[in-house]
Symmetry: C2
């Protein structure tokens, strides 16, 4: 690609590592590439971060034709800039495009765009432990037209922002609500794609969970309302009787990159990992018989979130006495260690931005 560049007249002050939350700050530049049905993807550019003017009839503002990705750039102790399996994000972005009738991109172009923007903004990458530069590629449908039809024009945009821990409390076991009223997704729907509508659909249950003192929702499947699917916007794992179990990708579950990496790490460490249907009854039975050993969520934003307690139909169920279990700790330490360059990368997962 031939990426054009427009210099910003004024750069923002960089924040201190302590002030970082999640998703509040953005950097000085963004990447934009346009699509038109006649021309394909064209005019890749890096321009100053600034508002995007959208016609009030723009497709994405009415019919939600838009998808996104999320990944992070880390600064290693020896000063290198590392991405974590960005080719997987590029591939998933195109899968999300396919589900929502958005024309695919060349995956090399996605990687080049991310790399060029991160390289330009490398001074924004914080170095304190637990911090990183969050990368948000997204695509929005931009036709000014109120018919329900795939847009003929799109914008592919990448924005960046320095982030600290996803949860203000850091890595602490969270309490989650097992949701039996609202449903996130069902096979045949959009649950396995990163479409914007999936997230709007989750807000009501999340709100309910917070009112009940929980941090996240554990989604049950939409058909039987008994098999666990995801936790909040993360994949979920349970360790029962020495085995680690995660729901199989049944068509309504997002294929997480942290999920995939966790499974590979677990196998390497000699744990049996089962990808299969896992019912809430099986989990509660394990709790009753003392074999529910650990539980955690996996996702780019929080990496690994230990689950310390479940709330289901008004009853509370502690997991591992509310403490972080050894497998959860191992995964968190190993993954964040590899991602940030503090541990050797035996898997070839990291990608250096030179």
């Amino acid at each position: 690609m031939n990426i054009s560049f427009t210099k910003s007249g004024r750069l923002k002050p960089k924040p201190s590592s302590e002030a970082l939350g999640f998703g509040k700050l953005t950097t000085d530049y963004m990447f934009i590439m346009d699509y038109d049905a006649g021309r394909g993807w064209y005019d890749p550019k890096i321009v100053p971060y600034s508002p995007i003017p959208l016609d009030p009839s723009t497709c994405v503002l009415h019919y939600g034709q838009g998808i996104f990705e999320g990944l992070k750039a880390y600064r290693s102790p020896d000063g290198r800039v590392l991405l974590f399996r960005p080719e997987e994000n590029a591939r998933r972005l195109n899968n999300s495009c396919d589900r929502t009738c958005i024309p695919p991109l060349d995956e090399n172009d996605i990687l080049e765009a991310i790399t060029e923007l991160v390289r330009l903004e490398k001074d924004w990458i914080p170095s304190a432990e637990g911090t990183s530069l969050y990368i948000r590629p997204f695509i929005i449908a931009t036709d000014p037209f109120l018919g329900v039809h795939p847009s003929r024009t799109y914008m592919f945009i990448i924005i960046l922002g320095p982030v600290g821990n996803y949860y203000p409390t850091g890595i602490n076991p969270i309490k989650i609500l097992v949701e039996d009223e609202y449903v996130r997704a069902v096979a045949g729907g959009t649950g396995e794609a990163k479409t914007m509508g999936n997230y709007a659909a989750s807000l009501k249950a999340q709100d309910k969970a917070e009112k009940l003192g929980c941090i996240q929702v554990l989604w049950l499947d939409g058909i039987h309302r008994k098999y666990v699917e995801e936790v909040g916007s993360m994949n979920v794992f349970f360790k029962i009787g020495g085995k680690v179990i995660t729901p199989a990708l049944s068509g309504s579950i997002l294929p997480g990159i942290t999920r995939m990496s966790s499974m590979e790490l677990l196998k390497k460490h000699g744990y049996g990992v089962e990808e299969r249907a896992l019912s809430i009854d099986e989990i509660l039975h394990a709790h009753k018989t003392g074999t529910l050993e650990e539980s955690f969520g996996t996702g780019t934003a929080a990496v690994i979130s230990p689950i310390g307690e479940l709330l289901y139909k008004g009853s509370n169920y502690m997991v591992n006495n509310g403490a972080i279990g050894p497998v959860t700790s191992m995964l968190y330490d190993t993954l964040t260690g590899i991602q940030s360059g503090r541990l050797p990368d035996e898997f070839g997962w990291t990608f250096e931005v030179k």
Copy 2:
């Protein structure tokens, strides 16, 4: 409400009735009201139609937190300006808000905003048969923040556009694909609300239908994959053995205002109307035994769409030999007659903008 007004420096030329499609044109002004968690809904205003600048991290562009409504203003033969049951749209808009954690509006304010804007733009209302002024109220979440959380700020916007027939072919029986791969919605999800994500989720199946020579999709339920739910973005009715049947509102179906009005009209005309689960097998059995008499979709955009043929698992099934049936015709003529003021309104459904 005290609606402020900013005059436009230049008005667009009004199109001729023949040039009208659906959703392509917008008028000179729009209504905007803002929301902030501290202030509530505030600053209602009518301003020149113009692009809205959105920060690239704006909530709605990532998590699809947005909802909309659709209704029409008609010019009657005696020059009155008529809305059709706008209070039902206001009520449904608030239901959609509730499902997506958007703060509700005062329904009188919604009606006042629509009325004021339509009154100002009344010269845009076309008068040829089949034409109207389409009204699109919508709400978008505007927080510039990348965490998955309900926004603390919103914009409620109303835009208008003169429209002709929804289908370029006018009121002709359409061929529809009975979709058994993709799912629109499931109970517990967002299917009964007018959220933007529902429409993005429908595009892939719609695209598939078009490639198979169909105009719309007939959705089956996401659990059993056998009960009919909606057709495209309309509700659906089947007349079988003298009885008119429409799927009951099971939690995954949008409660259409044209659907509700059609049922009331049918009852008044002495037809039995059944709201219940209706399987595709029952429909095909009726086809086989010669009792599948009519089928049609109902919605604001197309009002009544006769269905002339079904395509299911590779086989074609004609309905009423592909012709418009008498009940379908009666509903179309009566509804469009009442809406446009050409027929008396015995139900008190029309609302005059004075």
